[in-house]
Protein backbone atom coordinates (compact mmCIF):
# COMPACT_ATOMS: atom_id res chain seq x y z
CA UNK A 1 0.00 0.00 0.00
CA UNK A 2 1.38 3.42 -0.93
CA UNK A 3 2.16 5.73 1.94
CA UNK A 4 0.16 8.97 2.02
CA UNK A 5 1.22 11.39 4.79
CA UNK A 6 -2.08 13.26 4.47
CA UNK A 7 -3.96 10.06 5.18
CA UNK A 8 -1.72 9.50 8.22
CA UNK A 9 -2.80 12.93 9.52
CA UNK A 10 -6.47 12.12 9.00
CA UNK A 11 -5.99 8.85 10.90
CA UNK A 12 -4.00 10.64 13.61
CA UNK A 13 -7.01 12.85 14.39
CA UNK A 14 -9.25 9.84 15.03
CA UNK A 15 -7.01 7.59 17.07
CA UNK A 16 -8.53 8.13 20.51
CA UNK A 17 -12.01 7.43 19.23
CA UNK A 18 -10.58 4.39 17.45
CA UNK A 19 -9.00 3.10 20.67
CA UNK A 20 -12.17 3.88 22.66
CA UNK A 21 -14.28 1.99 20.09
CA UNK A 22 -16.36 5.09 19.48
CA UNK A 23 -16.04 5.24 15.71
CA UNK A 24 -18.59 3.94 13.21
CA UNK A 25 -17.63 0.56 11.71
CA UNK A 26 -16.73 2.08 8.33
CA UNK A 27 -14.24 4.49 9.93
CA UNK A 28 -12.73 1.66 12.00
CA UNK A 29 -12.32 -0.42 8.89
CA UNK A 30 -10.64 2.45 7.08
CA UNK A 31 -8.15 2.85 9.93
CA UNK A 32 -7.51 -0.89 10.10
CA UNK A 33 -6.78 -0.90 6.38
CA UNK A 34 -4.43 2.06 6.71
CA UNK A 35 -2.61 0.47 9.65
CA UNK A 36 -2.11 -2.75 7.74
CA UNK A 37 0.14 -0.85 5.33
CA UNK A 38 1.69 1.82 7.51
CA UNK A 39 4.19 0.60 10.17
CA UNK A 40 4.93 4.13 11.50
CA UNK A 41 1.23 4.65 12.26
CA UNK A 42 1.09 1.22 13.92
CA UNK A 43 4.02 2.18 16.10
CA UNK A 44 2.33 5.43 17.06
CA UNK A 45 -1.02 3.78 17.80
CA UNK A 46 0.69 1.28 20.09
CA UNK A 47 2.39 4.07 22.04
CA UNK A 48 -0.95 5.86 22.37
CA UNK A 49 -2.67 2.65 23.43
CA UNK A 50 -0.02 2.17 26.10
CA UNK A 51 -0.53 5.76 27.24
CA UNK A 52 -4.26 5.15 27.66
CA UNK A 53 -3.55 1.94 29.60
CA UNK A 54 -1.19 3.82 31.91
CA UNK A 55 -3.74 6.58 32.50
CA UNK A 56 -6.42 3.99 33.25
CA UNK A 57 -4.13 2.36 35.80
CA UNK A 58 -3.08 5.66 37.33
CA UNK A 59 -3.69 6.18 41.03
CA UNK A 60 -2.83 9.41 42.83
CA UNK A 61 0.22 9.17 45.04
CA UNK A 62 -1.48 11.02 47.89
CA UNK A 63 -4.30 9.89 50.10
CA UNK A 64 -6.53 12.21 52.12
CA UNK A 65 -5.64 12.65 55.78
CA UNK A 66 -7.69 10.49 58.15
CA UNK A 67 -11.18 11.89 58.66
CA UNK A 68 -11.42 14.01 61.81
CA UNK A 69 -14.04 13.13 64.39
CA UNK A 70 -15.93 16.33 63.58
CA UNK A 71 -15.91 15.76 59.82
CA UNK A 72 -17.04 12.18 60.28
CA UNK A 73 -19.75 13.31 62.70
CA UNK A 74 -21.02 15.90 60.20
CA UNK A 75 -21.21 13.30 57.45
CA UNK A 76 -22.91 10.73 59.66
CA UNK A 77 -25.45 13.32 60.81
CA UNK A 78 -26.23 14.19 57.18
CA UNK A 79 -26.60 10.50 56.33
CA UNK A 80 -28.96 9.94 59.28
CA UNK A 81 -31.06 12.92 58.23
CA UNK A 82 -31.26 11.35 54.78
CA UNK A 83 -32.47 8.06 56.28
CA UNK A 84 -35.00 9.85 58.49
CA UNK A 85 -36.27 11.79 55.48
CA UNK A 86 -36.83 8.55 53.61
CA UNK A 87 -38.66 6.96 56.56
CA UNK A 88 -41.23 9.78 56.88
Amino acid sequence: MSHDPEHCKEIFALLSEYLSLELPPEACQEIDEHLSGCPPCVEFVESLRKTVDLCRGYQPSAMPAPLSAKARGDLEAAWKRMLEGRAT
Binding site: K9, S16, E43, L54, Y58, A62, A65, L75
Partner: protein, 226 residues
Amino acid sequence: MSAVVTWCGSPESAALESGQSRPVEKHQEKELAIALRNGEPGAFDRFVDHFRSKVFGYSWLMCGQREDAEDVAQEALLKAFENFDQLQDPEHVRSWIFRIAKNACLMKRRKSVFAPERELSLEEFLPASESAGGIRRLEIADWSHLPDGRLLNLELRQELQEAIAGLPELYRAVLLLRDVEDLSTEETAQILDVSTDVVKTRLHRARLAIRRKLDTYLRGAQAVRP
Protein backbone atom coordinates in the same frame (compact mmCIF):
# COMPACT_ATOMS: atom_id res chain seq x y z
CA MET B 1 4.69 21.54 44.01
CA SER B 2 5.83 19.17 46.70
CA ALA B 3 2.44 17.51 47.15
CA VAL B 4 2.49 16.32 43.55
CA VAL B 5 5.75 14.44 43.76
CA THR B 6 5.36 12.96 47.22
CA TRP B 7 5.00 9.22 46.86
CA CYS B 8 3.07 7.51 49.64
CA GLY B 9 2.64 4.01 48.23
CA SER B 10 -0.42 2.63 46.51
CA PRO B 11 -3.89 3.61 47.74
CA GLU B 12 -4.62 -0.07 48.36
CA SER B 13 -1.66 -0.53 50.65
CA ALA B 14 -2.39 2.76 52.40
CA ALA B 15 -5.99 1.69 52.90
CA LEU B 16 -4.99 -1.64 54.38
CA GLU B 17 -2.39 -0.06 56.65
CA SER B 18 -4.90 2.44 57.97
CA GLY B 19 -7.39 -0.30 58.71
CA GLN B 20 -9.87 0.73 56.01
CA SER B 21 -12.07 -1.84 54.36
CA ARG B 22 -11.12 -3.44 51.02
CA PRO B 23 -11.32 -1.20 47.96
CA VAL B 24 -14.71 -1.00 46.25
CA GLU B 25 -14.71 -1.88 42.55
CA LYS B 26 -16.73 0.16 40.08
CA HIS B 27 -19.25 -2.62 39.51
CA GLN B 28 -19.92 -2.73 43.27
CA GLU B 29 -20.80 0.95 43.56
CA LYS B 30 -24.45 0.49 42.62
CA GLU B 31 -24.94 -2.06 45.42
CA LEU B 32 -23.08 0.21 47.82
CA ALA B 33 -25.33 3.17 46.97
CA ILE B 34 -28.42 1.05 47.52
CA ALA B 35 -27.05 -0.27 50.83
CA LEU B 36 -26.31 3.27 51.95
CA ARG B 37 -29.82 4.41 51.04
CA ASN B 38 -31.27 1.48 52.97
CA GLY B 39 -29.16 2.23 56.05
CA GLU B 40 -27.41 -1.12 56.01
CA PRO B 41 -24.63 -1.66 58.59
CA GLY B 42 -21.18 -0.82 57.29
CA ALA B 43 -22.47 0.95 54.19
CA PHE B 44 -21.77 4.43 55.53
CA ASP B 45 -18.11 3.76 56.30
CA ARG B 46 -17.48 1.96 53.00
CA PHE B 47 -19.21 4.67 51.00
CA VAL B 48 -17.31 7.46 52.75
CA ASP B 49 -13.92 5.69 52.50
CA HIS B 50 -14.39 4.88 48.84
CA PHE B 51 -15.78 8.12 47.47
CA ARG B 52 -13.75 10.37 49.76
CA SER B 53 -10.55 8.88 48.29
CA LYS B 54 -11.83 9.13 44.74
CA VAL B 55 -13.02 12.71 45.03
CA PHE B 56 -9.84 13.67 46.86
CA GLY B 57 -7.69 12.24 44.04
CA TYR B 58 -9.62 14.14 41.38
CA SER B 59 -9.77 17.38 43.37
CA TRP B 60 -6.11 17.22 44.31
CA LEU B 61 -5.14 17.21 40.64
CA MET B 62 -7.78 19.80 39.75
CA CYS B 63 -7.30 22.24 42.65
CA GLY B 64 -3.61 21.63 43.24
CA GLN B 65 -3.78 21.96 47.01
CA ARG B 66 -4.19 19.14 49.51
CA GLU B 67 -6.36 21.20 51.87
CA ASP B 68 -8.65 22.27 49.02
CA ALA B 69 -8.98 18.66 47.89
CA GLU B 70 -9.91 17.53 51.39
CA ASP B 71 -12.47 20.33 51.66
CA VAL B 72 -13.95 19.40 48.30
CA ALA B 73 -14.20 15.74 49.29
CA GLN B 74 -15.99 16.65 52.52
CA GLU B 75 -18.34 19.13 50.82
CA ALA B 76 -19.14 16.71 48.02
CA LEU B 77 -20.05 13.92 50.44
CA LEU B 78 -22.16 16.25 52.59
CA LYS B 79 -24.05 17.46 49.50
CA ALA B 80 -24.44 13.89 48.32
CA PHE B 81 -26.06 12.82 51.60
CA GLU B 82 -28.23 15.94 51.70
CA ASN B 83 -29.49 15.30 48.16
CA PHE B 84 -29.33 11.55 47.90
CA ASP B 85 -32.95 11.33 46.74
CA GLN B 86 -31.87 13.15 43.57
CA LEU B 87 -29.78 10.16 42.56
CA GLN B 88 -32.32 8.57 40.26
CA ASP B 89 -30.26 5.57 39.20
CA PRO B 90 -27.73 4.13 41.68
CA GLU B 91 -25.91 2.66 38.68
CA HIS B 92 -24.63 6.17 38.00
CA VAL B 93 -23.56 7.05 41.52
CA ARG B 94 -19.96 7.66 40.45
CA SER B 95 -20.82 10.24 37.79
CA TRP B 96 -23.37 11.82 40.14
CA ILE B 97 -20.75 12.25 42.88
CA PHE B 98 -18.20 13.64 40.43
CA ARG B 99 -20.67 16.20 39.16
CA ILE B 100 -21.05 17.43 42.74
CA ALA B 101 -17.26 17.33 43.17
CA LYS B 102 -16.68 19.30 39.97
CA ASN B 103 -18.99 22.05 41.22
CA ALA B 104 -17.30 22.03 44.63
CA CYS B 105 -13.92 22.43 42.89
CA LEU B 106 -15.24 25.40 40.94
CA MET B 107 -16.40 27.01 44.18
CA LYS B 108 -12.79 27.12 45.29
CA ARG B 109 -12.34 29.64 42.48
CA ARG B 110 -8.59 29.27 42.44
CA LYS B 111 -6.53 29.39 39.32
CA SER B 112 -4.75 26.15 38.61
CA VAL B 113 -1.32 25.99 40.17
CA PHE B 114 -0.21 23.41 37.65
CA ALA B 115 -0.52 24.71 34.13
CA PRO B 116 -1.61 27.96 32.52
CA GLU B 117 -4.87 27.63 30.62
CA ARG B 118 -4.40 27.25 26.88
CA GLU B 119 -5.78 25.35 23.92
CA LEU B 120 -3.86 22.33 22.71
CA SER B 121 -3.70 21.92 18.94
CA LEU B 122 -3.57 18.59 17.18
CA GLU B 123 -0.63 19.58 14.99
CA GLU B 124 1.70 20.13 17.93
CA PHE B 125 1.53 16.43 18.75
CA LEU B 126 2.33 15.05 15.31
CA PRO B 127 5.51 13.01 15.76
CA ALA B 128 8.63 13.88 13.80
CA SER B 129 9.85 11.29 11.33
CA GLU B 130 12.90 10.57 9.24
CA SER B 131 13.32 8.63 6.02
CA ALA B 132 16.22 6.33 5.30
CA GLY B 133 16.47 4.04 2.31
CA GLY B 134 12.90 4.81 1.36
CA ILE B 135 11.59 3.70 4.75
CA ARG B 136 9.96 6.24 7.04
CA ARG B 137 10.60 5.88 10.78
CA LEU B 138 9.05 7.86 13.59
CA GLU B 139 11.37 9.51 16.05
CA ILE B 140 9.74 8.00 19.11
CA ALA B 141 10.82 5.82 22.01
CA ASP B 142 10.53 2.06 22.17
CA TRP B 143 7.25 1.54 24.07
CA SER B 144 7.09 -2.20 23.55
CA HIS B 145 8.55 -3.24 26.90
CA LEU B 146 6.68 -0.83 29.15
CA PRO B 147 4.90 -2.64 32.01
CA ASP B 148 1.27 -1.88 32.82
CA GLY B 149 0.31 0.91 35.20
CA ARG B 150 0.43 -1.07 38.42
CA LEU B 151 3.97 -2.30 37.78
CA LEU B 152 5.48 1.03 36.81
CA ASN B 153 8.57 2.14 38.64
CA LEU B 154 8.40 5.13 40.92
CA GLU B 155 10.10 7.47 38.46
CA LEU B 156 7.71 6.67 35.64
CA ARG B 157 4.69 6.94 37.95
CA GLN B 158 5.85 10.39 38.94
CA GLU B 159 6.39 11.29 35.31
CA LEU B 160 2.84 10.22 34.53
CA GLN B 161 1.45 12.17 37.47
CA GLU B 162 3.35 15.29 36.48
CA ALA B 163 2.19 14.89 32.90
CA ILE B 164 -1.43 14.77 34.05
CA ALA B 165 -0.94 17.67 36.44
CA GLY B 166 0.72 19.66 33.64
CA LEU B 167 -2.29 19.47 31.33
CA PRO B 168 -4.34 22.63 30.96
CA GLU B 169 -7.34 22.38 33.28
CA LEU B 170 -9.98 21.78 30.58
CA TYR B 171 -8.06 18.79 29.27
CA ARG B 172 -7.04 17.50 32.69
CA ALA B 173 -10.66 17.30 33.84
CA VAL B 174 -11.66 15.24 30.80
CA LEU B 175 -8.71 12.87 31.10
CA LEU B 176 -9.31 12.29 34.82
CA LEU B 177 -13.00 11.58 34.34
CA ARG B 178 -12.74 9.49 31.16
CA ASP B 179 -9.56 7.50 31.65
CA VAL B 180 -8.74 7.57 35.35
CA GLU B 181 -12.34 7.35 36.62
CA ASP B 182 -13.56 5.25 33.70
CA LEU B 183 -16.66 7.36 33.09
CA SER B 184 -18.30 7.33 29.66
CA THR B 185 -18.10 10.13 27.13
CA GLU B 186 -21.76 10.96 27.86
CA GLU B 187 -21.29 10.99 31.64
CA THR B 188 -18.19 13.18 31.31
CA ALA B 189 -20.06 15.58 29.03
CA GLN B 190 -22.87 15.88 31.58
CA ILE B 191 -20.48 16.46 34.47
CA LEU B 192 -18.55 19.17 32.63
CA ASP B 193 -21.57 20.71 30.85
CA VAL B 194 -20.06 20.32 27.40
CA SER B 195 -21.00 18.31 24.30
CA THR B 196 -19.78 14.77 23.70
CA ASP B 197 -17.80 16.05 20.70
CA VAL B 198 -15.94 18.46 22.97
CA VAL B 199 -15.15 15.61 25.36
CA LYS B 200 -13.78 13.49 22.51
CA THR B 201 -11.65 16.34 21.16
CA ARG B 202 -10.21 17.25 24.54
CA LEU B 203 -9.60 13.63 25.50
CA HIS B 204 -7.62 12.98 22.34
CA ARG B 205 -5.42 16.02 22.83
CA ALA B 206 -4.93 15.25 26.51
CA ARG B 207 -3.84 11.69 25.69
CA LEU B 208 -1.50 12.96 22.98
CA ALA B 209 0.05 15.43 25.41
CA ILE B 210 0.61 12.69 28.00
CA ARG B 211 2.01 10.38 25.32
CA ARG B 212 4.50 13.00 24.18
CA LYS B 213 5.64 13.76 27.73
CA LEU B 214 6.17 10.07 28.50
CA ASP B 215 7.85 9.56 25.15
CA THR B 216 10.37 12.29 25.92
CA TYR B 217 11.05 10.66 29.28
CA LEU B 218 11.44 7.19 27.74
CA ARG B 219 13.75 8.41 25.02
CA GLY B 220 15.95 10.02 27.64
CA ALA B 221 15.93 6.87 29.76
CA GLN B 222 16.67 4.64 26.76
CA ALA B 223 19.49 6.91 25.60
CA VAL B 224 21.41 6.44 28.86
CA ARG B 225 20.74 2.70 29.12
CA PRO B 226 24.02 0.74 28.64
